[in-house]
């Protein structure tokens, strides 16, 4: 164990961990939303994310940007960022809807047992990521330097960069917007109704199919944002990037209480920070092991996660 490794780097590890955790949290929302309404783990959500990471790279490529480009000006940066976000959101949203239509809807029509959904999702996930792998020759793709990381301010000896701040703030804002949407809007009420009791909701005139599609779409949108942030932070994507981060995101969703929006945020941030601490203390190879040990321990004491289940009701 390397206590000095943790103590000396405590501040920076916390900040980078929060940034990584914010991405995980946005990603985890997709698991949580779908679980809240359908009570099933959308295993293909990792590929929804993957499509986002590639979509923004492709559109930036149209503008002649690749990993070797010079960093754009501030105006260009904002423009490219917005374009990248929009395209990634569309790509992820469309992928999420496609998964729901191709892999889930036919099963729902036929009253399939819950496990069947899990398996079609695995099939869809395998199909998308492997096809991406073949088409990209299983190579990595570098990300253009849309945002040049620059130190913004320091707290003590900890520097916070513009990118880290952007990721954390964006995640919080999106979380807030989504929370308002679910709890405040008419469509959101439909989602909550279906999540609490699908049959009664249907009797009360809620269009269940539309609510389900909406939930997939919302998860896709959040994954699209997470994908762009991931590209900018990690700097590289690859055909198995979704699977890799998907495990973290799934763990984060369960940690916070799957089906609970605020739980996903809490779980994501906690996981991101803890992984970094573990990497500092034991070495980077133990990063994922630490997150699972934490998960098991917490579930032992709180079997439904930190904040409990249930979409939108958020009982602590």
């Amino acid at each position: 164990m390397d206590f000095s490794g943790l103590i000396d780097n405590f501040g920076p590890l916390t900040v980078t961990g929060l940034a990584q955790g914010a991405i995980i949290a946005l990603f985890a929302l997709g698991y949580t939303l779908v679980y809240g309404v359908l009570r099933l783990i959308n295993f293909a959500h990792s590929e929804v994310f993957l499509m986002g990471t590639y979509a923004c790279l492709i559109v930036w490529g149209f503008f002649g940007l690749d990993q070797n480009s010079a960093a754009p000006s501030v105006g260009g940066m904002l423009l490219y960022l917005v374009i990248g976000l929009v395209v990634a959101i569309i790509a992820s949203g469309v992928t999420a809807l496609a998964v729901e239509v191709v892999a889930y809807r036919p099963l729902r029509r036929r009253n399939a047992p819950p496990l069947a959904f899990l398996i079609t999702a695995i099939g869809a996930s395998l199909f998308i990521s492997e096809l991406t792998g073949v088409l990209t020759h299983r190579n990595q793709r570098g990300v253009p330097p849309i945002i040049q990381a620059k130190p913004l301010f320091t707290i003590g000896d900890t520097t916070v960069t513009n990118l880290q701040l952007l990721i954390i703030v964006l995640a919080l804002v999106m979380m807030f917007v989504l929370d308002r949407f679910i709890n405040g809007s008419r469509l959101g009420r439909g989602i909550r109704a279906v999540s609490q009791n699908p049959d009664s909701a249907a009797l009360m005139g809620v269009n269940k199919s539309r609510v389900i599609a909406l939930v997939f779409l919302l998860g896709g949108l959040m994954a699209g944002i997470a994908a762009v942030m991931y590209d900018l932070k990690i700097g590289v994507t690859r055909y198995d990037a979704g699977f890799l981060l998907g495990i973290d995101a799934f763990a984060a969703a369960v940690l916070g209480g799957i089906g609970n929006l605020r739980g996903a945020l809490l779980g994501g941030l906690l996981l991101g920070v803890l992984q970094n601490y573990a990497a500092g203390l034991f070495g980077s190879q133990w990063l994922h092991a630490a997150s699972f040990v934490l998960l098991v321990v917490i579930l032992l004491f709180r079997p439904t996660g930190l904040l409990g289940e249930s979409l939108g009701r958020a009982r602590a």
């Binding site: 047992p113 495990i247 040990v293 079997p303």
Partner: protein, 368 residues
């Protein structure tokens, strides 16, 4: 159509089988067994044979791979199909079995000076280890339900993989070489060599048959009925006096034991293991096999387990015109999984007991 429909309403092939006298049933079983043992020579059947066997991977080896996948599917079927405990990290037990064998037998092991056993001696110890691992996983997770259990088991398998990768005792990617093969000689030659995989397949088949017999008896005993009760309604089972904790632990331990058997066989055939084998995707595939075949049903688990190993191997030889499609085989495999599940949501061979229960339940919920 009507003729087919009446055949179906009589329970199809399985209905016919169930109505036959015992001696017919025994003959059917005997024929099936003989055919199973002759599978390595399937390529010699004219016309159909070459379409069945794999290309790019040796057919008996592919069969052996199928045999340990089937073992894993059978074991996971006990946990998921019978007891209803969703386990996403089942390969962890496979790993414990394989590593147990390697630690006791391989010259690379730190224990070699003290043990350095033959394969057969290591088997019971390795299996005992996996059962203990099953209990260690089972005990703390008893309170968890459904998807929470899924993530914890997934985490358990990941922790095992990371331990295997990162600790010096388990040697990580360097792995254990020279793990001895199973014993026995025939005409002065060892039966279990390196070039011929047929004996390994036969060994796997014998183990599968023993496991089937064992699990069948368990399923029809008090234990099996308790699993059923727990799966359908844990609270009700508890109230009716089923000791849920005890039987859930049983399910974990037996599942782990069968998975460990797979691992022990695997180590014996390979002669070399390292941490690269025990990845998460492996667990997920085995689960896909169980559900695809028909969860809660041994015939289904066997078929599903065999298919998840067979399909990607069989697709190695696939081509479209002149283009070799082997690169696409996992993508195609994903597609096949979706198609099978959409067309047969209850699995290829649905569990009949489960189907009846579901029908009952439908009536309760929505009386016509």
């Amino acid at each position: 159509m009507s003729e087919k429909a009446s055949f179906r309403s009589n329970g199809g092939v399985r209905g016919w089988y169930g109505r036959q006298p015992a001696w017919v049933q025994w003959i059917v079983i005997a024929i099936a067994l003989v055919l199973a043992f002759l599978l390595p020579y399937a390529g010699d059947i004219p016309l159909i044979g070459p379409q069945i066997v794999t290309e790019g991977i040796d057919w008996p080896s592919a069969l052996f791979n199928m045999s340990y996948y089937v073992l894993l599917a059978l074991g996971l079927n006990v946990v998921v199909g019978y007891a209803g405990l969703l386990d996403l990290g089942y390969v962890g037990f496979f790993a414990v079995g394989a590593y147990g064998t390697a630690l006791l037998t391989s010259p690379d092991s730190v224990l070699y000076a003290d043990t350095g056993w033959k394969w057969l001696m290591a088997v019971p110890v390795a299996l005992a280890l996996t059962m203990v691992a099953g209990l260690i996983l089972g005990w703390p997770t008893l309170r968890l339900r459904g998807d929470y259990l899924a993530i914890v088991t997934l985490g358990f398998a990941e922790i095992i993989r990371i331990f295997a990768t990162s600790t010096t005792t388990l040697r990580g990617d360097r792995g254990f070489a020279s793990i001895p093969h199973p014993p026995g000689t025939w005409n002065g030659e060892p039966i279990f060599g390196v070039t011929d995989a047929v004996p390994y397949f036969w060994l796997g088949l014998v183990v599968i048959i023993l496991v089937i017999l064992g699990v069948r008896n368990l399923d029809r005993s008090r234990v099996g009925r308790s699993w059923l009760a727990i799966r359908e309604d844990e609270e009700a089972a508890e109230i009716m006096g089923v000791r849920t904790i005890k039987y859930k632990l049983w399910a974990f331990a037996i599942g782990a034991f069968i998975g460990g058997l797979g691992g022990v066989l695997f180590a014996g055939e390979q002669g070399f293991i390292n941490s690269q084998t025990f990845v998460l995707q492996f667990s997920i595939l085995v689960l896909a096999g169980v559900v695809m075949g028909g969860s809660g049903n041994m015939a289904g688990a066997i078929l599903g387990g065999a298919l998840i190993s067979y399909i990607p191997d069989r697709l190695r030889g696939i081509s479209l015109g002149d283009t070799d499609l082997y690169e696409y085989r996992f993508a195609l495999f994903g597609l096949v999984i979706i198609i099978i599940m959409v067309l047969r949501p209850q699995g290829l061979i649905p569990s009949r007991r489960r189907a009846m229960e579901l029908k009952d339940r439908e009536k309760e919920v929505a009386p016509q």
